[in-house]
Symmetry: C2
């Protein structure tokens, strides 16, 4: 497990508390329940900007919820995804907090192979080009996943921890 350099310009405690506050407000406004379990799972996901695996979350959740089982975590994750509070990172089978829950969140995820951090970007130009292409194809969209694997700025000069070879 590689440790990231904390971005000095980034107050992560604030980052977490904002995410949680927003989530609480959204759920309140929508009349859905951000129960203790769901809140804890969300908080655990927001503990970093890395993508977190379901079973990692389970291990982290167990001390807080003695009865926690895989299903417990997956149910919470399902809820959080439905509410747009987290993203599922398809290419990693992992999960990451979503910063854009109140807007139309068109996710473009930059996934660093070195530090596992995931940066979410808006990229309206990409999205409009994409929408146009999809319309051309006569396709009706339900969801989009754009996932870019590579190395982030911070890790650019570091060696990869272990390569998985794939270059597309």
């Amino acid at each position: 497990m590689t440790q990231t350099l904390p971005d000095p310009a980034h107050n992560h405690k604030l980052c977490i508390s904002q995410a949680l506050t927003t989530a609480e407000q959204l759920c309140g406004a929508r009349g859905v329940q951000l129960t203790p379990i769901r809140h804890q799972v969300l908080e655990l996901i927001w503990a970093s900007h890395k993508a977190v695996k379901a079973y990692e979350l389970l291990d982290l959740l167990k001390p807080l919820q003695h009865a926690a089982k895989p299903v417990t975590v997956y149910r919470a994750l399902d809820f959080l995804i439905e509410q747009g509070l987290i993203h599922r990172v398809e290419s990693l089978n992992a999960f990451v907090g979503c910063r854009c829950s109140d807007k139309q969140h068109e996710q473009l995820l930059l996934i660093c192979k070195h530090c596992q951090e995931v940066e979410e970007r808006y990229a309206p130009e990409v999205m409009s080009a994409l929408s146009e292409e999809i319309n051309k194809a006569g396709f009706t969209v339900h969801s989009k996943a754009i996932e870019i694997q590579g190395v982030c700025t911070a890790c650019r000069h570091l060696p990869l921890p272990q390569s998985n070879g794939q270059t597309t």
Copy 2:
């Protein structure tokens, strides 16, 4: 398992044989071995334009290769992905033939929830907008996955087999 309407303008036998011929030529040119197992797996994947699961492939492969085990299939899949002959569909944990092995294949996959067919599109406008965005972020790309879930033209007027609710 929903059955698709065969596209009348599409000679799939030709489609398969072209894909296999191309694959053979490419492997020959690259000095890598498209062994019987690998060839069979590729052919099984090309049997449709649907995304196929590894264990489905295993079941299909067993009659042809008595000793086939999960590893057998995954090794063949790894090879085919490395050679750019198939795509891994991350959002389905499944695999689909790649039509663009000789070019730089930047995949944009349109995945129909109804018929499971996957359409691959080039979309250079999308890709250039995407590259620009990635450069802006100072990110070094290793691989890209753009996967759009929805309903294709052919299935537009049919009811969904079963919804999985997620809308992003």
